[in-house]
Structures are given as structure tokens and as C-alpha cells.
């Protein structure tokens, strides 16, 4: 029995320059079905969906809507075909009201704006069961309101196929639950829904089928009912590799960096880090686990002095470093290496050589107005040798190195400065196994030298092997600090989703909680 698909994609390929973002992808969605599109960062999920919404055009392959082959050359084409996408970064005009944002793409009303558009949009939103104020300006809206507005918008244009790109990344647990109710309602009314995510629990909760992409390639599609997290992970990551990472035991020193009641806001003005307490001692690696976007970036930036904090204290060896310039913090021996999703974005200047990148942090220490490239070159040579960086020379632009080597250069420079605290976020992001091991070794060597390391990571298996303690963040709040060798992946997972909050239960002393959950105890 052949069932009509709302969307069928066959053999879709898309490259950006020499990078193949999508290779021969097949995807189907039926009306009244929720399909989860699962994959790690950079696996090509968003690229694939942008081809449905008309942002990109596929290099090859065909797209069928309701069984007919279509060419989607622009977002307007997609709109006419009844495809609506809620982008991860909302496509809203900040200074417009909610109604005007929808009215932009309206083809039905006349050329002159009338006052009744607010009424029309308000009524329409109510009919779908949404609560939005049509006169409210977008810049006054909370993130969840903006998302609701985006959904109302695509519904108003009559979309039958709705794509949501990581809709839950910015939502709280309750907001996510509300969103899922909305999605289920839309599913019942016959909409076909594609939801992009890399959160397994959400996939299992909301979807009917799951399509998995890995590194731009289509792996398979499975029925949600017949799968589990274990299987999905293996599809998503590829062959399961058991990592054996050393965790040397090192004499721990007094706390080097202590964070007390730290509150930070993100770029949108929402709370990114909410009254967080923790400390790092010399000779230990403190892992920070959490779902992406739970305040990890803001925390790193605040420690490095790049982001103003709302309240709280950051104490380094007894001195409060709040309000110090990034340079002063650097001079105190706190170094930060943050590997963003695009890897080259932060910390290194891609078109400059390894030597020049080495000099970036200490150009002002040279005497006189001229650059002391000789010392820099020697340091670069040292780092290349120590970390086994594969490069033609120290004068090769960093951009030309492979990802793992770029990250080694960044870490190498940070270590070269002789820090006593290293803040590193996603240092192995996108690296193959060998490079990852090299990075772990570098961190372990620093740990043996008595450096305190804050390791923001993604992979729980790695963190449980490498870190001494793991702090779990959930929407900017600490869910607890646990000993890495005593905890389990399940426990961490529960904490990451906010289902388990150990900070409130420390009196019961369940297994695996370090007393670090309560900093006051240690201070006495």
C-alpha cells in the first residue's frame, strides 16, 4: 500500500565549496506525523531543512511535495507549497509588532494597512489556541513568545508542513512541554511536522519516526516505538568506541578559583547562569555537563572577563576578579580556550601564522615598538614539537591546518602562558579519536602540574573517564556536583534534563555526591 507523503526528498546533495554538507539524503514525512531529524552538530540537519524552506538549493536530488516533484527556489516558493520553517535564529523584525511581522508576508489584504489587522491576527491566534498580544513589539518579547509568534506566523500562511529547527534549545522544561502539546495538536489536525534536535529524550517523547544523519550522510529512519536511546546514539555517533582515558590521581591543592552566587545574563537578556556556586582546586579537572546552551558559554566568558556579570563573586586565590579586564585576568594565570561550533571563531586569527597567533597574547610584553617574532617563532616550534602538531612550518596560516591541529595550537598557546587555571570548552569538538586523545593527554599533563581545569564538555562518557568531578548545569542552574567515578550516565542525564536536582537533597547523601555541592562546608 503506497501512502502519500507530504514531503519526500530523494538523493539530496549539497556542498559548500569543497565541504559536502549533505550527501545523498532520503527523507519522507507523512501528513499527521512528527518526524525527528537527529544528528550531532554539523551533521547537516539544518542545511537539509533549509533546502525545503528555499534558503538553499540542492546541488542534485529531487523534492516531492504531496507526490509532485517541485523546485523550491526561494522562501516564497516554499510558502506557496505550504512549507513553513521556524528557524533556530528567529526571523522576526524586532521593531515591528507581532501582527506586523505576520502581515509582512500576507497576500490577502489590501495595499493599505488597516487597524483591524491586530484583531485579525489576535482572533486567528486564539483559534489555534495560542495566546499572543498582536500589538506587542518583538523586542519586548521573551524567547518563548517569539517562538510562538513564529509558529502562529507559519500557520497563518497556511503551512501544512512545519519544520522546527532546534525549537527546544532555548526553552525551559515547562515551555518545552507546552510546545510539544502544540505540536501534538497540529499533528492531529493533519500537519506534517519535522523537528530538528539532538536531544534523545525529546526525540523519544514527541516523534513518530526518527531520521538520523551523521556527518552529512543519511544513516537510516526508524520507528520511534521500536528504538531506544542506546540504538539512536550508535546510529548518530557511528560505531561505539570505548574510550579508556587516564585519570591520574594528583595531590589536590586549595581552591584556586571559587565562584559564589554567580548570576549572568545572555545576549538576549535572559538569565544564562543563575546563582551558581562551585570551585576548582589545583590538580583536578572539574567537568561541566549540560544540554547545549545551558549557560556554558556565558560562564566561560564571565570567568575570562569577556562578559559582565549581574551579581556574585569570582575569587581567584583570594582576590575577587569580578570587573577585571580580560588582560588582568590573563595575567593572574587564568586562561580560557573556547572552541565554538565553527572552531576558528574564537581565540585564533585564521589567516595569521602559528607564530603570529602565539604572539597575540603577549605582543605587548616585547620592549620597544617592534614585534618580537623571534621569541614567538621559538615558542611556536616548541608547541608544534610538544603537541605533535602536523604543519608544514610555523609560518603556515592556522586556517590551512586541519581541525585537530588548530585546536592543539589554541590549547598549546594557552598552556604556554603557564596558567594556573584553564577554562576549556569543547576542546575536542569535531575531532577524530586520535586528536581527542592528544588533547586529553595535554589536559592531564597540566593537571599533574597542579593546574585547575574547568572542562566544559559534550560527551558524557569522556567526561566520566577524564574528569575528577562533574558539575551538571540545567538552564543555568547547578543540579549538583558529583564524583566522576561514582556517578552513572543515567544519573547525569537525569540531572541534565532537570529531573534530578541533587543540590536540594544533599542531606540524604545519595551515592556519588561530592560534598562540594555545598561550598560553605569547605570554607570553614
Amino acid at each position: 500500500m503506497e501512502q502519500q507523503y507530504a514531503i519526500e526528498m530523494r538523493g539530496i546533495c549539497k556542498s559548500f565549496g569543497s565541504v559536502a554538507a549533505n550527501k545523498d539524503i532520503n527523507l519522507t514525512v507523512k501528513p499527521g506525523e512528527i518526524l525527528a531529524l537527529l544528528g550531532e552538530n554539523g551533521s547537516g540537519k539544518t542545511t537539509l531543512m533549509n533546502m525545503l524552506s528555499g534558503i538553499y538549493k540542492p546541488d542534485s536530488g529531487m523534492i516531492l511535495v504531496d507526490g509532485r516533484e517541485v523546485a523550491i527556489n526561494s522562501p516564497e516558493d516554499a510558502k506557496k507549497l505550504g512549507i513553513g520553517m521556524v528557524h533556530q535564529h528567529f526571523k522576526l523584525v524586532d521593531v515591528f509588532s507581532a501582527a506586523d511581522n505576520i502581515w509582512l508576508g500576507d497576500d490577502k489584504s489590501g495595499p493599505v494597512l488597516k487597524k483591524d489587522r491586530f484583531q485579525v491576527i489576535g482572533d486567528m491566534a486564539k483559534r489555534f489556541g495560542f495566546d499572543i498580544d498582536p500589538r506587542k513589539k518583538v523586542y519586548n518579547m521573551a524567547v518563548s513568545e517569539k517562538q510562538t509568534l513564529e509558529i502562529v506566523k507559519v500557520l497563518y500562511y497556511g503551512a501544512q508542513i512545519i519544520i522546527l529547527d532546534e525549537p527546544t534549545a532555548v526553552l525551559t522544561v515547562q515551555e518545552t512541554a507546552k510546545l510539544f502539546d502544540v505540536l501534538r495538536r497540529m499533528k492531529e489536525s493533519g500537519h506534517a511536522i519535522i523537528i530538528i534536535t539532538h536531544k534523545l529524550n525529546e526525540v523519544l517523547e514527541i516523534s513518530d519516526r526518527v531520521a538520523i544523519l551523521r556527518k552529512g550522510e543519511y544513516i537510516t529512519t526508524v520507528d520511534t516505538a521500536t528504538t531506544d536511546e542506546q540504538q539512536l546514539t550508535e546510529y548518530m555517533v557511528g560505531r561505539k568506541v570505548k574510550l579508556n582515558i587516564d585519570r591520574p590521581v594528583v595531590e589536590k591543592t586549595r581552591p584556586l578559583l571559587e565562584i559564589r552566587d554567580l548570576t549572568i545574563k545572555n545576549d538576549e537578556g535572559a538569565l544564562a547562569i543563575d546563582k551558581v556556586n562551585f570551585y576548582i582546586r589545583g590538580g583536578e579537572i572539574l567537568g561541566v555537563a549540560g544540554i547545549a546552551g545551558c549557560g556554558q558559554k556565558e560562564l566561560c566568558e564571565a570567568i575570562a572577563g569577556l562578559r559582565p556579570i549581574e551579581s556574585g563573586m569570582m575569587i581567584h586565590k583570594g582576590d575577587n576578579i569580578v570587573g577585571l579586564s580580560p588582560k588582568a585576568i590573563l595575567e593572574k594565570g587564568i586562561s580560557m580556550s573556547f572552541i565554538p561550533e565553527d572552531r576558528l571563531g574564537m581565540g585564533l586569527a585564521p589567516s595569521m601564522s602559528i607564530t603570529d597567533n602565539m604572539l597575540l597574547k603577549k605582543y605587548d610584553q616585547a620592549k620597544g615598538p617592534f614585534v618580537d617574532r623571534k621569541t614567538g617563532r621559538e615558542e611556536a616550534k616548541q608547541v608544534v614539537q610538544d603537541l605533535e602538531i602536523v604543519t608544514p612550518s610555523t609560518e603556515t596560516p592556522v586556517r590551512r591546518l586541519s581541525g585537530g591541529n588548530v585546536q592543539k595550537v589554541l590549547l598549546g598557546r594557552e598552556i604556554k602562558a603557564g596558567p594556573n587555571v584553564i577554562v576549556t570548552a569543547y576542546p575536542v569538538r569535531g575531532l577524530d579519536i586520535n586528536s581527542s586523545y592528544a588533547i586529553y593527554d595535554i589536559l592531564n599533563r597540566q593537571k599533574k602540574d597542579g593546574v585547575g581545569i574547568l572542562f566544559v564538555g559534550e560527551d558524557l562518557d569522556v567526561m566520566m573517564d577524564l574528569c575528577d568531578k562533574i558539575m551538571v548545569l540545567c538552564h543555568g542552574r547547578v543540579m549538583g556536583v558529583v564524583h566522576a567515578h561514582k556517578t552513572s550516565k543515567e544519573e547525569l542525564g537525569l540531572m541534565m534534563t532537570g529531573a534530578l536536582d541533587l543540590t536540594n537533597k544533599y542531606e540524604d547523601k545519595p551515592a556519588g555526591i561530592a560534598k562540594d555541592s555545598r561550598i560553605e562546608e569547605v570554607e570553614e
Partner: protein, 331 residues
Amino acid sequence: MNDPINVLTLFLFNIVLVNIPLLYGTTGEIVVEKAGSLNLGVEGTMAVGAIFGYLAGCMTNSLLVGLAVSFLAAGLCGLLFALLTVSLQANQNVTGLTITTFGLGLYFFVGKGIGERWPAMTGASALVNGFAPKELPLLSKIPLLGKVFFSQNLLVYLGVGIAALIWWYLSYTKTGLRLRAVGENPGAADSVGVNILLYKYIHLVAGSGIMGLGGFYMALYMSGSFEGSNCWINGYGWIAIALVIFANWNPLMAIGGTLIFGFFNTLQIYSGPLAGAFPGVLGWLNAVPAQLFKALPFLITAIVLVASSVRKREGSGQPAALGLNYFREER
């Protein structure tokens, strides 16, 4: 003759008469900037509109042809700007400066090329008549204001009319709404099916055309007397760019802004007569060096730019994507 009221009336009358080209330039630039493009070529665009409009108007002895040609010639400058910045993604600042250099160059090239056979405006009766004051019925009978605002030439009324029309267009039509969206967040506009390319081209050309009308006005105000050294536009294009900011991208405010700038602009000519007419109150004007008056409009421009840079984002009419080129597939 030296009746104080007469001097004051004449001073105020001239504020309007002399400075309306600023309004044209400002309104045109507002249209362009609302589409998210920063065109620094206002001066050159006005110069091109001025010289071609004037020559065409003289040749055909028609005010309408002069207006149309100045609009089209300046519109072509806008088309060039759109081609370079929208289709070819060139840097808008550099392109704008290029348009100014190009426009002024073309102005002198054409003007000097014509040389001896340069047409005098007195030969074109329709232009002379078109620029002659027209008293509006009833309104012109209002004391003082009637003379200042309602006894002006046709092009003054046209300029104010265009500014008001553009204000209505931006605020109350769907195309205006979409245009503002293109300037604020082209990605958002694109995602709901607004044709970014079309909107940019149309409004960049139309806005430049409106600037050209201001150039034509300047030509008539200067009675079409071409000199080899000074351009008719005389820096008005640059002041217009500042006026856009002063007016907070609102064409109605641009009318007020034009009058305020015009006040300082005209003061340099009228400081003597004003001091003579009101020796008690304004006698000190004679003590102010003429150079200061000449510098005043530009000084005010600088102050406006500094003051407006501290204005809060929310109340600002500045398009968020102003000066940024849009490329859909950008990652």
C-alpha cells in the same frame, strides 16, 4: 525698507526658499536607507539630477520635463548604486563615495563641455515661471506665516508634498511595511516571501530620483548660472545625510529638521540685516565673525551626529540592517 517686520519675514521666507533642496535630499535618502542601504552619494546624485534636469528643462522650456529628467538622471545613479551594492555585493560606503565623485565629475564635465553655448535660464520662461512664487488662496493671507510658507514656488510645495507622501507610504501601506522589514531584517522579510532584490532596486532608484529633484531645485535657485569652480549643490547632499539621522528616519521630522538647519544656514546671509533691524536684541550678531556663520550648519551637523549616536535603540528609526549587504545563502 528697513522695517523690522519686513526683514524678519524675508529672513524666514528665505529659510524655506533656500533650504528645500535639503528636504528633497533627506527624503530621498530616507527612502534609500529604509531599504537598508546607506548611500553616501547624495551630493553626486543631486549634482547629476541638477545638471541634466536643468539642460533638459531649458531645451524644452518645460518645468515638467526638467523635473522628469532630473528624476531619471539621478535615478540612474541610484541604479548604478543598486547594481554595485545589491547585485555585486560591493561595500556600500565606498560605492556611495564613488557615486559622489562620479556625479560631481559628470556635472563639471557636462557643464564645461557645453561652455559657450550654455543656456541661460531667462531664455526658458516656463522654468522662470515655475520657480516664481505662487500664493496659495486664503492660506497666503495669514499674517507672517502666509508669506513665509504659502507664498513659495511650486517646487517648495512639491517637496513638502513628497515628504508627507513618503511618510504615509512608509507608515500606512503594506509595501511600506515590507520595505521597512527589508531594512530591518532582510532575512526575516525574505523568509516570508518578500522579494528583497526588487524592493531594494525600486527604492534605491526612487530615492535617488527624489534627491535629483532637489538638485534640479538648486539649479533653478542658482538661476542656472554655471561656474567652473563651484557646484550648485554646495555640500547640501552631505547635510542631507546628517538630516536623515536628525529626523530619525521620519520624513515629517525631516521637514522640521530642514527648517532648523535652514535657520542656521540662512543666518549667515541675514545676520547683518537682522542686526540692523533689531539693534537692541540682535545687535551682537554683527560682532560674530562671518566664518563662524559659514561653519555653523556643519558644526550643527557634527553635534547632531554625536547626539544621535547615544540615542537608545528602541526609539530609533534607524534600520537595523543599514549598510549591510544581504546574501541569502550566507552561513
